[in-house]
Subunit: 316 residues, 2 copies
Amino acid sequence: MDRFTGTIEKINSLMSAHCKSTSLILDTAVQDLIEGGGKRLRPLVLILAGRFGEYNEEKLLSMATGIELLHMATLVHDDIIDEARLRRGRITAQEKFGNDVAVFVGDYLLTRSYSLFIDNLSQHSLLKLNKVVKMVCIGEIRQYEEKYNLDLSLLDYFKRIRRKTALLFAISSYIGAYEAGVRGKNLYHLYKFSLEMGMAFQIQDDLLDFIGKEDRTGKENNQDLTAGIYTLPLILLLRNEKYGQKTREVLEKKDLTIEDIALIQEMIRESGVLDLSRGYAERFVERARKNLAFLPDNVAKKDIEFILNLQVQRQK
Amino acid sequence: MDRFTGTIEKINSLMSAHCKSTSLILDTAVQDLIEGGGKRLRPLVLILAGRFGEYNEEKLLSMATGIELLHMATLVHDDIIDEARLRRGRITAQEKFGNDVAVFVGDYLLTRSYSLFIDNLSQHSLLKLNKVVKMVCIGEIRQYEEKYNLDLSLLDYFKRIRRKTALLFAISSYIGAYEAGVRGKNLYHLYKFSLEMGMAFQIQDDLLDFIGKEDRTGKENNQDLTAGIYTLPLILLLRNEKYGQKTREVLEKKDLTIEDIALIQEMIRESGVLDLSRGYAERFVERARKNLAFLPDNVAKKDIEFILNLQVQRQK
């Protein structure tokens, strides 16, 4: 990611500047989030998509800053839901200050992102973006509704990660390109490219919840599993001829012991569902790649391809 | 409030229609909130302010619906903070479904309100409104920072309720009027009128936390007190010559017993701080009234005056 260091630094300092307030708690929480890192994939994708048109660098950076702030807002609110102690290896805002503040830190980030969007987006993009934020909320609530549901289908899962994750990637590309005047097929393929990549990204994320090294991902393993959120590997395991019944029996208890988790981990490794899941991620990457193929060759395309290739190998 | 029944019913059904989703939990939570009642003061003020210009009824109703949804979003998020069990006499969304869902129910309401704003507001109003939402967040976080602070000044308190409450009243008037083409002095006085009324409204709300009948307010008494949120009567009590020192001693314990609360209640009644607080509320009402005086006489003005007069007598 070295090739993007300069841009990422710019986005980080724009985020800091744009979120400065008169509240010490707020500034501490926001600074923690920014310094906590993250790959800044959504803003990068937004900027690169904009390069396919007549772009204004400053405007692209503002929109990119907005997208990352929006993403951060969802992370902060997500952590309240998950009661996750760790996010990117750091103590979460909600651990530090309690739910009390985390809710409004997230809301604050949301309004700061919207201020950048209202300043820089056409009404068309603004409405489209706002609709995506709505879908993210619905995705999160759906995920709650589907907790501990042993009969989740692959389609349910794909629908959920589309809403929860992929659409935000897709809209990042879309607004970057649209506001730079890109229209027609190029706009369509940039949107679709990001959507498919976002799907691959989330599948990979869900895989890492089972097999990631905690020191690398900065998150505790098995978080989703213990919270009753069943992702691709587990859904496949539940459908596995050999292990399905056993998995169902273990999960029916809801409150999993350490031994239960170890047993599920073992079945996941032995059943081959990890490779199967990886296969799905790769298929989404291929679909993303196909959309890229329709786009004109330029430097931005090479950069986008580079980001896409990271998705299947990433370990954090 | 009978004269507004028709309008309130329209707003309620617009809220329902605009928030319909594919999620049962979401629809239940939203429907609960709508049926939970509320005085719909902000949307009414918005509509009445719009009547001072060349208004479009449908557009006013859409914006009014947006303001009430926005207000509801802050209530939902507020309840996560307060861990309030009751809101308007009903079990809160967060009690029913847990924090998990309440966060995103609030976010969902927020995006639904913004969709109405993006559709109906000029960029000027949109930016101004978004800024107010930011101030509400800062107000809430400030309130958290100021918890258990025995040295809170009156100015701190007024700043807080301005951000937390009054600005949202003010912006309701503003956008209603602005989007109906009202400019200059009329716009200014409508804005100021609502700001001052919002201050009075919040002071009255804080008074009711001490003396409200629970069956009427639908909230438990002493909620703020036990959460360490010190409002006007208590700030005045802390500065009272006779009771100040004793109050400070009791509050320094932070964890208040039932006896502590009874003692504080007694001192509040005997010290006269309730009347003093009411006096402040009345002064804000007078300031609001002065702004009204500059406005042209019409039916809307009579209605606005009616709403203003309710503020000092209201018991819920």
